[in-house]
Symmetry: C2
DNA sequence: TTGTAAGCGTTATCAA
DNA sequence: TTGATAACGCTTACAA
C-alpha cells in the first residue's frame, strides 16, 4: 500500500543503497544515476518512511520544545522563532507543554524525550525545577531560552540590566518614591524574575533611594496579578509616584487598576514594564523590549549546531541579546 | 548503548513478544508475568524505541497541527487546547506553520505529512487554499478548526451569527450609520471573514439600514490593519456613529486610530469586535467571544476518534460552538 | 560508483 | 498464556 525504496530501486534498475544515497544527496553517486533516481522517485510519488529511516540511522530528525505555556505572548512568540529555523532545517518540531504538574493526563517531560528527539529546547523553565534537571541530565543536545544554567547553552537577555534600564528611566524622570510589582517575593535564582528584582534594587540603592517595603507588591506574573499588585499599592496612604512592573503583562493589569481608581498612567503615576509585548505600543506603555523571536531563532540555531556536531556542547557560551527602552506615554517627569 | 526489548525479555526470562504485550497492556498476559516484566523494565530503565515501534506497527502516534500563525492569540490559544488533549492521549504533537508561501526554506505541508503522522489538525486555513486541498486529499484523518469544508470534520463557531449578534447590538443601541472594518473586500467563501461580513450585511438590511460604501473599510486582519481601516473611516466627512470590527485585533487598532483623532470608543464612536481576545476586557472592548480553547480541544478529540476508528470519518457532522456577547465600555447608546 | 547484506528494535502472525 | 520468527523500510559497512 506504499511505495518503498525497493520499488524505486527496481524501477531505476539500481540497488536500494544507491537510491538511498542518491535521494539523500550523498556524494559518490553518478550525476546521471542521481537524476534518474530522483525522477523515478518523483514519478512513483515515493515518500521515505521516517520511522524506517530513523530506526536505521539512529537520528530522529526532530527537536522537542518544552514550554510551561503555549498561549502566552512571550512563549508563542519564542516558538514561532524556533519553528522558522527548524522548518528551514527540515526538522520536526515536537511541542510539549509542562504546565501545572497536576494537570489531567500530565506526563513528566524527560521520559517523553528519550529516543524520540535529537535535541531539546526549553523555554523559561526555572533552573531550580527538578524536571529541568532531569531533562538536562538526559545528556542530549539542549538549549535554554530565557533562563541560564551552568554548563548548558542558553539564550537570554540580561534581565538585571533590563530592570536597571527601566528603573533608571524612572529615576531620571525625577521619581523618588518608586514601587515594584512582581510575580512573587521569593524568586528562584537564575530566573528572569529574580534578576529583574535585583536590577531594580541595585539602581534604587545606587540612586540613594529607599525602597519602602509597602511599595513592594507581589502577585502572579499575569495581567490579573499585576492588577492585584497595583491595587495593593494604591490603597497605601502614601502612594508611589512611579512603578516598575516586572513584565508588560503585569503592567497591563496595573493600568487597569489605575483606571478603576480614576488614575491614568503617565499623568498620575508613571509605569514602566519589561518585555516589549505586542500590545505595549497600543496601550502606550513604556517598556524595555527584548528580541523575543530572535531568542527562539538563535536558540534553535545553537541547538542544530550541537546536533550536527554530534555532541552536547558545554563549550557554547551563554548568549545574551540586547534590550531596548521604548519610551511611551505611561512614563512622565515627576511634577514638582 | 540502549536497553532494548531483548534485554528486558532476557532478564525477565520471557520472549520479546511477551514483553511487548505486557508493557502495552494487551490482554492474554498473565498478571504475574505482566507485573514482573513491568518491574524489570523499570529497573533496567527501559524506554521503547518509537521509531521501531512505528515501523513495525504502522502507527506513528503523532498528530500534525498546521497553522498559518503561531504567535497570534487565536492560533496559539487553539494550539494550547489541542496540546492538552494530545498530551493526555499520549500523542506527539508536530507543529507546522504554513505562513507565507515564499518564506525562507518553506515547504508545502502535504508532503511533510505522509507516513509521518496519524492525523492532521488544520487551523483557519481558507478552504479555497490549494495546499489545504492537498492535505485533505492525503486521505488521512483530518479535522478543521475555524473553517469548514464539505466532507471534512470541522469545529467552528457560526461566524454569520457572531457578526449578527455584534451588529444587532449596535442597531439596538440606536445606531443607524454603522461602518465595518475587515481584512479584505473580496473574502473567500467559507472563511470566518466572509461569514462575518455576511452577518453584518444581513442585519443591516433586515434593519432597513443602508451600508454606505464609504463606511466599508478593509485592510489587514491585524492591529495595524484595523488602525488603518478606522483611520480611513474617520477621514470621511460623514463619520459613522458605530463600527463593527471583524476581529478584536482589528478593533484594537481601531481604538488606537480613535485615540489619535482625540476620540474615545464608547463615548464618541461605538465599537464592537469578535473573538473574545485576552486583551479585550483590559481594553474595555465589547466583543462576541468564541470558545477558542474548546475549538482546539474538541477538534483534537474528534481527530483522535477518527484515528482510533481507523477511518477518515466523513460521517462526523461539522461541530459549531456557541458564542457570547460581552458588553463593555466601547459601545453605548446613540446620543440623540 | 555501485551492490550485497546485515542490522536497527519493534510488532504481529502463527504454533505450541 | 507464551514463544519463534517473519516482517516493517531504511541505512551503512564492506566488498566488488
Amino acid at each position: 500500500m506504499g511505495i518503498t525504496i525497493r520499488d524505486v530501486a527496481q524501477a531505476a534498475g539500481v540497488s536500494t543503497a544507491t537510491v538511498s544515497r542518491a535521494l539523500r544527496g550523498l556524494p559518490n553517486v553518478d550525476e546521471q544515476t542521481r537524476l534518474r533516481v530522483q525522477r523515478i522517485a518523483r514519478e512513483l510519488d515515493y515518500v521515505i518512511s521516517p520511522s524506517a529511516s530513523r530506526l536505521a540511522s539512529g537520528r530522529t530528525g526532530s527537536v522537542a520544545v518544552i514550554t510551561p505555556h503555549i498561549a502566552r505572548w512571550f512563549f508563542s512568540t519564542v516558538i514561532s522563532g524556533i519553528e522558522s529555523v527548524l522548518q528551514s532545517a527540515g526538522m520536526d518540531l515536537l511541542l510539549m507543554s509542562v504546565s501545572n504538574p497536576d494537570a489531567q493526563g500530565r506526563q513528566p517531560p524527560a521520559p517523553r524525550l528519550r529516543r524520540r528527539v535529537d535535541g531539546v529546547l526549553v523555554i523559561a523553565v526555572p533552573s531550580s525545577d527538578p524536571e529541568l534537571r532531569d531533562v538536562v541530565d538526559l545528556g542530549m543536545p539542549t538549549s535554554l531560552i530565557g533562563v541560564s544554567m551552568e554548563g548548558v547553552p542558553s539564550v537570554t537577555i540580561d534581565d538585571v540590566l533590563a530592570a536597571r534600564i527601566a528603573t533608571q528611566h524612572l529615576v531620571n524622570l525625577g521619581h523618588r518614591r518608586i514601587g515594584i510589582i512582581g510575580g512573587s517575593a521569593m524568586t528562584a535564582p537564575f530566573t528572569a524574575e529574580h534578576d529583574r528584582q535585583r536590577g531594580f534594587l541595585d539602581v534604587m540603592s545606587e540612586a540613594g533611594l529607599e525602597v519602602d517595603p509597602v511599595l513592594e507588591s507581589y502577585g502572579h506574573f499575569t495581567v490579573a496579578g499585576g492588577e492585584q499588585a497595583m491595587t495593593a499599592l494604591l490603597t497605601q496612604r502614601n502612594r508611589p509616584t512611579a512603578v516598575f512592573a516586572m513584565s508588560d503583562e503585569m503592567a497591563f493589569g496595573a493600568m487597569r487598576a489605575l483606571r478603576s481608581h480614576g488614575l491614568v498612567a503617565g499623568s498620575d503615576i508613571s509605569l514602566v514594564g519589561v518585555d516589549g509585548h505586542d500590545m505595549s505600543e497600543l496601550l502606550d506603555l513604556t517598556t524595555v523590549a527584548q528580541p523575543v523571536v530572535d531568542l527562539g531563532r538563535i536558540a534553535a540555531e545553537t541547538l542544530l549546531a550541537q546536533i550536527s556536531a554530534g555532541a552536547v556542547a558545554a563549550s557554547i557560551a551563554p548568549c545574551q541579546l540586547p534590550t531596548r527602552l521604548f519610551v511611551r506615554g505611561s512614563t512622565a517627569a515627576l511634577a514638582r
